[in-house]
Amino acid sequence: MSIRFTPSVVTANDLFEGDVVYLTPQGGWSRLHAEAELFTEQAAAETALAAALAQPDRLVGAYLAPARRGPNGPEPAHFREEFRARGPSNYPHGKQAERMC
């Protein structure tokens, strides 16, 4: 019996800024989790991850992160990914600061 695949997004850190980025359905990279493509099929997710790993000139450390469908797009399904998608909790820095602008 195969283990059920957890829906996931492809995420990495940007080479230049270090910021968290997500693979979009258009094949580009967004800094917003809600703009990520949510993969529900393992084969498609792994193909997309392999493509991301083949872009070492702009990305570092691509991996599949658990996510779920939300009203405004995919949402993180683990607290670590929530922090990556938002920023630290002690200062309004990172992505949460950009959203406030």
Partner: protein, 553 residues
Amino acid sequence: MYTYSEFDRDFLATRNAQFRAQVERRIAGNLTEEEFRPLRLMNGLYLQLHAYMLRVAIPYGTLNSAQMRQLAMIAEKWDKGYGHFTTRQNIQFNWPRLRDVPDILDALAEVGMHAIQTSGNCVRNVTADHFAGASADEIADPRPVAELLRQWSTDHPEFQFLPRKFKIAITGSPNDRAVTRAHDIGLRMVLQDGARGFEVIVGGGLGRTPVIGKVLAEFIPEADLLPYIEAILSTYNSYGRRDNKYKARIKIMVNELGLEEVRARVAHRFEALRAEWGGADQAILNDLRRAFAPPAFRVASTEAYEIAYKNDPVFRSFADTNLAQHWQDGYAIVTISLKAHGATPGDATSDQMRLMADLAERYGHDELRISHEQNVILPHVHKSDLPALHAALQQAGLATANIGLISDIIACPGMDYCALATARSIPVAQEIATAFEAREQDIGGLKIKISGCINACGHHHVGHIGILGLDRAGVENYQITLGGDATETAALGERAGPGFAYDQIVPAIERVIDAYLDLRQDPQEEFIKTFQRLGAQPFKDALYLTGDRANAA
């Protein structure tokens, strides 16, 4: 203090130029991440959750005002206007961009600082008692030896690829403020027949296998210290495990071979090495002693201090809590708390760094220290200057009178920044500090230490109360340890039982504290003493509402 020689400056300029070229090659796509990663780590550059992080060494925690101002400038120009002081007397910048890091390293080099060996399987920043050279209880300033160790270990060709990272701490005082028993090598200065030497402790460490270090040698004369340490490193380099990252620290080698066998192998290596040294290190050490000579202390009246102490209760509280006894009459050691209630432990803004630099220059013989407890120390302040110093600190939010109290918490960056973390540390520290602010003077001396993963950067094992943040089935969960001790009577805390959810950890700590207040014999009996008298059980009962506490609930 020590200032860089021409050799140091040339070495650093060469290394920085190399790294600048490596960054350019990475950006141009000529180096893969696999190739670049070890190169950036050798220069202190990590990639964390949200951004790169640059870890800069502050050797033995000592800075001058120019260095502190440069850190402030770097934080402002290339980061977000603050820096984070760590439990290894380093400073971390949490938001640098890759392209800017070579410029940051050049800016550090301008003031004799670098980020070399703040990562990797090498000898890391040598840490020391943050009161070194100032404390009344000290035999002698250990920093000349610490600087000798820094020079010897920096870019040491034999020790760049050890089985695992290697941390050395040193103190010149019998009262251990440097956590020497939780380091790969801990050095405690001792006197034997009037001659200075060191007790050499080996194989301590926290992390996933916490071990209190063992005494490898009770007395190594100062002249033999460096060859003896080289013999330890050499033995470790030969016999330390490389098959399993989690069993590669020297503490595992000591546990597996046994202390006697390690002692014999080190002694054998030492015999071969000692003859090769020829005393060159002692000549350098003599020069270094001059570099660390005490400042020209002032002889002046301390009346202004005494008047303020008598008349100003806020100043009196600061003086009672944040001052330590200096060996020089009329002087005090001032600890500036980076733990304002609700603030991030160890963080200082650029403005605060500049103010501390100005105050060090004006009142403190141009010296600052960073403590492993994530505070800043002005080691040499004449008591007559303390009222003015305190007033200036108040203006900048730096006069919190809480050193050694429950809100003076060590916390690692945790999952707010760290890629290795399994839970957050900082907000737990912030909430505990805020929750106990009103009654912390009554609670008295108490060390809470928080780590956001088992690597234990927050020293939770040696906290009187330790908190370890874990990921339990996708939820943050916090384990409590009780009775740890980071001093010369070092002890590992005992795990209390099952962990607590994020929103239950502060109430859990409140139950422990309430139990302590009920159980202590008098207000002078500090938490750790009550714990040592009664053991863990009454505190466990309070935590889990068992025993007598079950009925009270």
